[in-house]
């Protein structure tokens, strides 16, 4: 009988534990803090470099609105997610020409930019991008921009890679890291193979881009899902070359890695301008402005620049950076020249998105 006795007593303990867990479920409404959490949480579909954990905590403390980020890497993925999930998300970040697509397809709502006090801190050019205008409204709150170029470790990469084709060299086998964004990788391949409009390639141009990627694949170490991963690969030496945003050299050094240098391929490259958009089906639209107003303040933006290295559209933050002694670094990274953003081939949805994604998948598998 002692065997059963022992089992029952242990079972008794487990019973208590189970009861506790079930009790938690029903006691949830009693946890006042939690209901508050559920009432004022904004679900934010974004990239990892659009926020910092301490920033979110500070904002939550200040205005009681908690941002809950969900990460993605490819605009196409985010677009599909918003399309499929209705009111799950409240804010979605988007690049350049994706923003008008979101808006056209009724997934996001435009708003009056000037009604946000923090928008006055932006460079004036950022407040008037023609492709983001919707009458007197604006389709997104401008955040950051950058070109996508090559960063290389001169210790191992002895000739400056000034062309996309230089990356096909067999000695870089398994040494290149880039972000897993099929549309943009195809666009870059299009640039490399002379496509006239990298985001609306003809099927012939797509095949050529695909062939380029096929020769490129053996040199790819990793398709990263966020640019931090590319930075880390460069920092710990597993990658010698990264295809990534401005400021990577500073970030790699910060991560305790070697010196890396930028290189601009002569065929040209792509770039992004991103923004925060309101999801149309969101139930918390009323607090969007308050949240953005607090989150996008200059001190946070300045910190974001120091962490992530690429330029942002907040002009007041630029002044803060100069005052803090980072003016040279910011100048080097074109922070005070937002007009350059318009000179890039900016990212956007492909003409035939499916064909792009198919071609990419058929080369990389997944």
């Amino acid at each position: 009988m002692s065997v059963y006795e022992r089992r029952v007593t242990r079972a008794g303990l487990l019973k208590a534990g189970a009861a506790g867990a079930v009790g938690l479920t029903f006691a949830r409404p009693a946890f006042g803090g939690l209901t508050q959490l559920e009432a004022t949480t904004l679900n934010w579909l974004t990239w990892s470099d659009h926020y910092a954990n301490d920033q979110l905590a500070a904002v939550a403390k200040k205005i009681g609105i908690r941002g809950r980020p969900t990460l993605f890497s490819d605009n196409a993925d985010a677009y599909l997610k918003i399309k499929r999930t209705g009111s799950q998300f409240d804010i979605v970040s988007g690049d350049a020409l994706w923003v008008p697509k979101y808006h056209k397809d009724g997934l996001t709502e435009s708003f009056d930019l000037s009604s946000l006090p923090v928008s006055k801190q932006l460079f004036s050019i950022a407040r008037s991008f023609p492709f983001w205008k919707d009458g007197s409204n604006y389709m997104g709150y401008p955040f950051s921009w950058s070109t996508v170029q090559i960063y290389y470790n001169p210790k191992y990469v002895t000739t400056v890679p000034d062309s996309w084709h230089a990356l096909l060299d067999k000695k870089y086998a398994g040494k290149i890291s880039l972000e897993n964004i099929p549309t943009d990788v195809m666009a870059i391949a299009g640039r490399a193979t002379g496509a006239k409009k990298p985001y609306s390639m003809t099927s012939g141009e797509i095949s050529r881009a695909k062939a380029f990627l096929k020769s490129f694949k053996p040199n790819v170490l990793k398709l990263a899902s966020q640019n931090n991963e590319v930075v880390r690969a460069l920092a710990d030496g597993s990658a010698w070359i990264g295809i990534t945003n401005l400021g990577t050299d500073d970030r790699v050094k910060d991560a305790g890695g070697p010196v890396v240098k930028p290189a601009y391929p002569k065929e040209g490259t792509v770039g992004f301008i991103d923004s925060e958009q309101i999801v149309k089906a969101s139930k918390n639209k009323a607090v969007f402005e308050k949240f953005i107003n607090t989150t996008e303040q200059a001190p946070w933006i300045a910190k974001n620049f120091l962490t992530n290295g690429r330029p942002l559209f907040n002009e007041k933050a630029w002044k803060l950076l100069v005052n803090q002694g980072h003016g040279d670094r910011a100048k080097r990274l074109l922070y005070n020249q937002p007009q350059k953003a318009l000179q890039m081939t900016i990212k956007g949805p492909a003409g035939d998105e499916q064909a792009y994604v198919d071609a990419f998948n058929e080369v990389f598998g997944a």
Partner: protein, 309 residues
């Protein structure tokens, strides 16, 4: 080794259902009542969704919407892309390799545990094997990055002992890393199953064989292995089949070359390529079901509380 079945001449299912003595036909239906919740749960949320996936694999996607047009195009497309076929084959052989290695690693361990460890310590040592399971799966895989990476423990050790003078990238972001991590993740399954099986084995037979002049290896081959074959098969099934569907480990440590079919499926579904994803899913699901049917006898229910020996 179920004493209940050995003691009573009755077959495992009670030949004289107690309900019969209590009341007749009525209770027969009530007997099956226990199935109702399961039928609801699995009918609505398992069978139906899988049925939809089967259907999807034969339909088309036009402009992000699924169109009910019957076609085998998805399968034709899948097999027409060399990369996809290669990924499918790679998945199978990575799974085979991982399974073989896992069993090869787990068997000596289980043997040692049963033969050379005193009974009271066996349970503690087993708990120690399961203990890593109590950490997040993701973090266990992620930790391997710190061991296998260019700046990780292995490379540092190699450089410290001057066996190499610069980081060796072989260890990470390729198939070997995926196999290693999979062996690491599935070792406990194999170890526990093999332990249970070896524990039930009557070691006196072993001793008898050796007394009769057999060498240890021969005894193992002709006495031990045939008797633990069911346990061995179960271990293989419980390792090989789940590995076929793995996608997280390859995603985290596999890099661009360690892609498995799970990654492909996730990619298809995230990109709203439902029909293609469904076709790829079905390929793996069919493979799994075929294996389960072939090895159905390994799925017999065994009472863990039965005192076999």
């Amino acid at each position: 080794m179920n004493t209940a079945t050995e003691a009573a001449p009755a077959p495992p299912v009670d030949s004289q259902p107690l309900s019969e003595s209590a009341g007749g036909r009525r209770f027969r239906i009530a007997e099956y009542a226990g199935f109702v919740p399961a039928l609801v749960l699995y009918g609505a949320f398992f069978a139906v969704p899988l049925g939809i996936i089967v259907a999807y694999s034969f339909w088309k996607v036009v402009d992000y919407n699924v169109v009910h047009q019957w076609t085998i195009d998805n399968y034709r497309y899948f097999f027409s892309v060399a990369t996809y076929v290669r990924t499918l084959w790679a998945t199978i052989w990575v799974s085979v390799l991982s399974t073989v290695l896992t069993i090869a690693v787990a068997f000596p361990f289980a043997y040692w545990l049963v033969r050379y460890v005193p009974k009271r310590m066996q349970r503690t040592l087993l708990v120690l094997v399961i203990l890593p399971f109590w950490t997040s799966y993701l973090l266990r895989v992620y930790s391997w990055l710190n061991i296998l990476g260019d700046q990780g423990a292995i490379n540092r050790l190699l450089q410290w002992t001057h066996l190499t003078d610069h980081p060796v990238s072989f260890f990470l972001y390729d198939r070997p890393a995926v196999v290693l991590v999979l062996v690491y993740l599935y070792f406990p399954f194999a170890a526990l199953t093999l332990y249970a099986s070896l524990e039930r084995f009557d070691w006196d037979q072993f001793k008898a064989a050796m007394d009769l002049g057999a060498r240890p290896l021969t005894a193992m081959r002709r006495i031990l292995l045939p008797q633990i074959k069911p346990g061995l098969t179960t271990a293989v099934i419980f390792v090989f089949i789940p590995i076929l569907g793995e996608y997280l480990a390859p995603q985290l440590v596999g890099g661009a070359r360690g892609v498995m079919i799970g990654n492909l499926i996730v990619n298809f579904f995230s990109g709203a390529e439902y029909t293609r994803g469904a076709a790829a899913s079905l390929l793996i699901a069919v493979l799994i079901i075929v294996l389960l049917v072939i090895f159905r006898r390994s799925l017999e229910i065994k009472d863990p509380y039965a005192s076999g020996r």
